[in-house]
């Protein structure tokens, strides 16, 4: 449903656009420049062509962003690593969602777990020590994690608990942002989830004297378990 002054505003826009704008980058009196095709890949920071190099770049970005990246060899190793984290951080309760990969790991952690499919209220979700989610992709170029309301248990699970733990598989790593957007439309174009986000490191702020502080409002810690 759309309401308000739709026709008025569209009318004013059409009236305004009757006078064409000068062609871009024409400069003062210079000949108009042609419209360039958009090829972000040729302009954005370079990404190695091979999977190995892309993983190394993802690792480097994670280190800079203070994302804790743990590369493990399989489901069993992943479970063991998370159990270790659980002890180190003294997690009392976890929140997660159902997902083929997560369902092989989360029940084995021996941790009381709330599942978002059971629609817990935000107050009890907030009390969980960790939110465990899957994701759609990892992005080498930026060290980002792409996830959606559909792939990662809704909107709150990955932002409300103080620690966000992502479980991903090595083949989910894509080289760069253009590849991530390609994947997004290939997977969802028929019906997009209502929420998609690119997460790049734990929550942060520089609002006080431009000094970096982690854990402003979102998770203070971000861990990625990458299963090879």
């Amino acid at each position: 449903m759309s309401s308000g002054k739709r026709e008025d505003i569209l009318g004013r826009i059409r009236e305004a656009l009757r006078v064409p704008a000068p062609r871009l980058h024409a400069g003062h009196g210079a000949a108009p420049a042609p419209i360039v095709p958009v090829q972000p890949r040729a302009w954005l920071p370079a990404v190695p062509p091979d999977a190995e190099g892309q993983l190394a770049l993802f690792q480097k970005n994670c280190a800079q962003l203070k994302t804790d990246l743990q590369i493990v060899s399989g489901i069993e190793a992943a479970t063991k690593t998370i159990v270790k984290l659980c002890k180190a951080h003294q997690w009392a309760m976890a929140a997660a969602h159902h997902h083929p990969l997560l369902d092989q790991i989360v029940p084995a952690l021996g941790l009381e777990t709330q599942y978002t499919e059971e629609r817990p209220d935000s107050k009890s979700l907030e009390k969980c020590s960790v939110g465990i989610t899957a994701c759609d992709a990892l992005i080498g170029q930026t060290g980002s994690i792409m996830l959606t309301a559909r792939s990662a248990g809704g909107r709150a699970l990955s932002v409300l608990p103080p620690h966000h733990l992502v479980i991903a598989q090595a083949d989910q790593l894509v080289p760069d942002l253009p590849a991530a957007f390609e994947l997004l439309s290939a997977r969802y174009a028929k019906s997009y989830p209502s929420f998609i986000t690119f997460i790049t490191g734990p929550s942060r702020t520089g609002d006080i004297e431009r000094i970096l502080v982690l854990g402003a409002h979102g998770p203070k810690k971000l861990t990625v378990i990458l299963i090879q």
Partner: protein, 464 residues
């Protein structure tokens, strides 16, 4: 005659320019920005080509705005978003206040939105009896101080940790601390409760994607994610100029906005919202309202020469590099949008004659134009504003001066004689500062006239 706004601008700039402590704070803050931005920008394979492409995409969107907005709204409404078209701030404010009433809301949480500052949304909601809490750390701080954001992107850049600690002691009764981390945690704890209790979450939008009907929100703290995830109703406020054609365009805009804005390669959270909670999703708002705001943007659109000012993605880079902004500070502008972009668009949004003085607050060095990630011709637009203001209402004194000059140049002999007569008077000007008439007084009050050469060039040429 100076309008009272111009006089205030002048007084405030005089005060801030002489405040060395203030200047040192801004220099430190923007120095660290510059270093980060230079590093990140250097990683691009071709930053200039990226700028050209970004401005081309924006040109395409703005010059076909009716088509892209129609597509955008169609896609959004298909999935249950309620779109409201607001001609001005009043209509937008009324819509939100009425909605709050309908929903029986008590508290409202807000994430950063300059557009909401533009229409003074908080004031309207507070007057109607609602509690509105800003959740961005910087915005929260300036809200506690009851002042406007100092900068588009860094609202509390003018405050030291000590000043913030004193503020928190006074307003939140927290113990004193000079640790930015502890100060941040105080706000984190205070706001957690607010997110959970809020009935309505209000956000802005950095981009609107026509192709898929989504808004894109860029942030670092996670406050916008919480604001748009937890409350039952989400209201987003977006200027009509924020629409871009394709989803994939974001692969360029998201990193460029971060690089130009804060020097990051990409900010911590970049979220796309395309509607309220969908049938198979486990959480999210039950209602999503999007307010599309005109508020004089179509006026600016009608000015073909300056239309590209609507390409702005509000990264704040032009403020950061502007020698005027760095000296007079953000509050001197007394506008929602400060710095060069504010000086260009405020006369269009709020009246040329009241705000023309901003176009003179520029050294025309062009640093803004050079840094702008979407290549807005900022410093030429400042000149366009000056020209338009003079055409609308010429200044009699200025006109007299130029006519006199034009007359004298036609009679070089007379000019020469007058110049020779005035030569002995020139050194006196420095001593007679206080009694000289404006505008000479304004010029010499902060400068020494250079010593006059013994011989004029004309005399030298003759005797060479």
């Amino acid at each position: 005659m100076l309008s009272s706004l111009a006089a205030k601008f002048k007084n405030s700039s005089t005060k801030f320019t002489a405040d060395l402590e203030h200047r040192a704070k801004i220099r430190t803050a923007l120095g660290s920005y510059e270093k980060a931005r230079n590093g990140t920008q250097a990683q691009y394979q071709d930053w200039q080509a990226a700028r050209t492409a970004a401005s081309t995409i924006k040109w395409e969107a703005i010059n076909h705005l009716d088509a892209y907005l129609t597509e955008f709204v169609e896609k959004l409404t298909e999935r249950g978003t309620k779109v409201f078209w607001a001609s001005n701030g009043q209509e937008a404010r009324d819509y939100v206040v009425t909605l709050a009433k309908e929903k029986g809301a008590r508290s409202i949480i807000k994430s950063k939105s300059m557009t909401s500052e533009e229409i003074h949304l908080n004031e309207a909601l507070q007057q109607a009896g609602y509690e509105v809490v800003e959740s961005d750390l910087g915005e929260y701080i300036v809200q506690l101080r009851e002042e406007a954001p100092y900068h588009l992107v860094f609202p509390a850049m003018h405050l030291t940790r000590h000043e913030i600690s004193v503020l928190f002691q006074e307003k939140l009764h927290t113990p004193p601390t000079d640790s930015p981390e502890e100060l941040t945690m105080i706000v984190r704890r205070a706001l957690r409760l607010k997110y959970l209790e809020a009935d309505i979450g209000i956000s802005g939008a950095n981009f609107g994607i026509a192709e898929t009907g989504m808004i894109s929100i860029t942030e670092n703290e996670g406050n916008a994610r919480l604001t748009t995830a937890l409350p039952k109703v989400h209201v987003a406020l977006m200027g009509i100029e924020k629409v871009i054609p394709k989803l994939a365009d974001l692969s360029l805009f998201l990193p460029m906005l971060a690089t130009a804005g804060t020097g990051q390669q990409i900010t911590c959270y970049n979220s796309l919202i395309g509607g309220p909670r969908q049938p198979h999703e486990t959480d999210g708002p039950e209602e999503f309202h999007l307010i599309l705001l005109d508020n004089q943007r179509t006026q600016l659109l009608a000015d073909a020469e300056q239309r590209d000012a609507l390409h702005c993605i509000r990264c704040g880079a032009c403020l950061n590099v502007c020698p005027i902004y760095r000296n007079v500070g953000g509050h001197t502008y007394a506008t929602t949008y400060q710095g060069p972009i504010g000086s260009v668009i405020t006369p269009h949004l709020r009246g040329l004659m009241d705000w023309k003085h901003l176009s003179y607050a520029s050294s025309l060095c062009g640093a803004c134009t050079e840094t702008c990630p979407v290549k807005i011709d900022l410093h030429h637009h400042l000149l366009h504003n000056r020209r338009n203001a003079v055409a609308k209402q010429p200044d009699p004194a200025e006109r007299f001066a130029f006519r006199a000059f034009a007359f004298l140049t036609r009679f070089p002999g007379l000019l020469n004689r007058l110049a020779r007569l005035s030569r002995p008077l020139m050194p006196l000007a420095n001593r007679a500062r206080s009694i000289l008439p404006p505008p000479v007084k304004g010029w010499v009050s902060s400068r020494d006239l250079p010593p006059i050469a013994e011989k004029s060039f004309r005399d030298y040429w003759r005797t060479r």
